[in-house]
Assembly symmetry: C2
């Protein structure tokens, strides 16, 4: 309930507009494709501006890429400036940014292979300190370490991070990278992230927490190239991972609007197809599944973020996983999520203040703007239950 | 190399017999079926005596059942005396005994469901203290806790142990039961045991070790109702679990001599068949696979024990997993393992001591007897590499 005044005077009987301007829930998406645009070297700025407008229509939270092998392919020559400009571009649009990931065995720096394990560890720590302190204030959220469950037994190719993790063990590895990130930015939100939704990730989490390592949020990947999970599976996973009392971020969701990847493929990277088209039936199904997925996540009190992995088709694996087709046109899933986020879960209502100048409304957590006769003020809904706020418009 | 004397005098040029009387490697088997015989209430003592002779021909180490729901179906009325007599019967035959298991969510006591979690924990600890101290000296090795990976998420039926483990977490659960067992018998060898050979068990082990809980040996179940693993898989598993530097026990091996259980069955208990016969082709295959399996285990320096799950057909799941058919006749696998254990890996050789009274031989770790002209002495080979022993026969 809002008690409204303007310059101290009651607004009894006046028409009042209440708009949500930002969800507290983090509706996230990768922002990789805006790097060129944000750095002024886009080959098609008009397309990028249209894409950005679409992006803003669904999302309020960006994930940017810090894969070590691409960020610093040559030791000592990191892409700091480019990423900093990209992150600032999002920040200026009002979107918090998460960096992904600081430590991972895949796409890690090849030059680690020339080092012994002690030097790999030192380089990993130095890399984390450099990025986390260098981006502090612009990026204050990090997927600190990715896929630790398989990290020491990853056997697709030799790499420095697997060598190190196998040598020192998973938990000391997690402690090392979290300590480095925490020290570099004590205000950052630090995530442990994994695709493994089995008991293995539970066992890892329990070991990490028992070892006294502070995790701010648990990241659950949720690529569904092999089919939408459905409510039952999603809620069962949430139930298992919510019991640690930590916020949960769905960090990497993909739901395709074309053929489903065969179930027998274990490593999704093994699915190489010449083309993977979006189809009308697939798009209808995707829209339904997107709606069901987001409804499920929003229904669970532990979930604080849901990041979609790729706004547009043709990203990872060439999959038709986007809300936009390769030609930039929106699929039904775009309109569906847009309506949920902005209409069903958003607020934009005009009402008349009662005799005491009060207005009642129900809204999702987030930032609001109230307007009356050209005057405006902001307020925030942040906690559960009924809130009674006094707002003075001036 | 042995330097032999008899009452202080060299045995140069004499004929000397060297026999291994016991392997240090633990060739184990369940001993459940001897409970009646050991307690004097067998319905067929002759059959049991023949079975026991067969058992002694292959094995030197017994596992006895301490499933709480069967050991103490009525609270306060445990089957201590029956199990103690059974364990002593094995001990008198020279076989160390392991108790299995002290904590498990399956076949646990139903009456735990009437307790709250604090009382379940207290009952579990008291149960461990009672068994581990009560059997000390007869049973000094325990599978302390079984299948912790799935313990808190086991959903086949409600039970007190799953409730407790879900409440307090896996690692506090492991700590609680290991602390109780360690305190009750500081000399006992205490195992963590699981069927899950995935990264989940690795993550659990790493969490347990990081938490400072001392594990004496890692138990790897290895029921192969769905087919023999083969050398590559077995060695890959050994490689992963050996990296903690702990002794490894293969705790529950089954290799069937009939049809293979379909691969799509996840919980082996779901495979219910009216009859599961042993077949001639299956027996030939089983004999080969038994040989390959034991050769693989004996080749790995971390493996200290291999326990077979059922000497005779018709045990768990009615599977034809035994070395003996249901009618008590030996399968080819019996003769195959017998030859490996006693001939290829055993020692019984007669030789002539050299001019200095010395005898050279190669043998597996274990206890030996040397005999010359009616005099005898024992010695032990315990460490790797060449041993030089002086033995006086008297």
């Amino acid at each position: 309930m809002l008690s409204l005044t303007a310059a101290g005077e009651s607004l009894a009987g006046r028409e009042v507009r209440i708009e949500q301007v930002r969800h507290k829930f983090l509706f996230g998406c990768t922002g990789f494709e805006f790097e060129a645009y944000a750095n002024g070297d886009s080959t098609d700025p008009d397309r990028d501006e249209r894409l950005a407008a679409r992006w803003d229509g669904l999302f309020n939270f960006a994930t940017l890429p810090f894969y070590w092998g691409r960020f610093e392919p040559e030791r000592g020559n990191p892409a700091t400036e480019r990423l900093l400009r990209t992150a600032r571009w999002f920040a200026e649009r009002g979107h918090p940014v998460k960096g992904h990931p600081l430590a991972w065995h895949t796409v890690t720096a090849d030059w680690l292979l020339d080092l012994d394990n002690a030097d790999i560890a030192a380089a990993q720590v130095a890399r984390i300190e450099r990025e986390v302190s260098g981006f502090a204030g612009v990026i204050d959220m990090w997927d600190v370490i990715n896929e630790v469950v398989i990290m020491p037994i990853f056997d697709k190719y030799d790499n420095g991070i697997t060598r190190l993790c196998r040598d020192i063990g998973r938990i000391p590895m997690v402690r090392m990278v979290f300590d480095a990130a925490r020290e570099a930015n004590p205000n950052a939100v630090l995530l442990l992230n994994d695709f493994d939704m089995s008991a293995a990730y539970e066992c890892l989490i329990e070991g990490v927490l028992e070892a006294g390592i502070r995790i701010d949020a648990l990241g659950l990947q949720s690529h569904m190239h092999q089919g939408y999970w459905g409510e039952e599976k999603t809620l069962a996973i949430l139930d298992r991972f919510a019991r640690y009392g930590l916020p949960i971020h769905f960090t990497e969701t993909t739901i395709v609007s074309g053929e489903i990847m065969p179930a027998e493929i274990v490593d999704l990277n093994d699915h190489q197809v010449d083309s993977w088209p979006t189809t009308p039936e697939g798009e209808a199904r995707q829209a339904d599944e997107i709606e069901r997925h987001y409804r499920t996540l929003l229904s669970h009190p532990s979930v604080e973020a849901a990041t979609y992995w790729g706004m547009s088709d043709g990203g990872w694996l060439g999959a038709p996983g986007g809300f936009l087709r390769a030609d930039g046109t929106p699929k039904p899933s775009f309109d569906r999520l847009h309506a949920l986020v902005n209409e069903e879960w958003g607020t934009d209502e005009t009402t008349i203040a009662d005799d005491a100048g009060r207005v009642r409304f129900n809204g999702f957590h987030g930032d609001y703007r109230v307007t009356c006769e050209g005057r405006t003020a902001g307020f925030t809904l942040d906690g559960p239950g009924e809130a009674i706020l006094s707002v003075d418009l001036s």
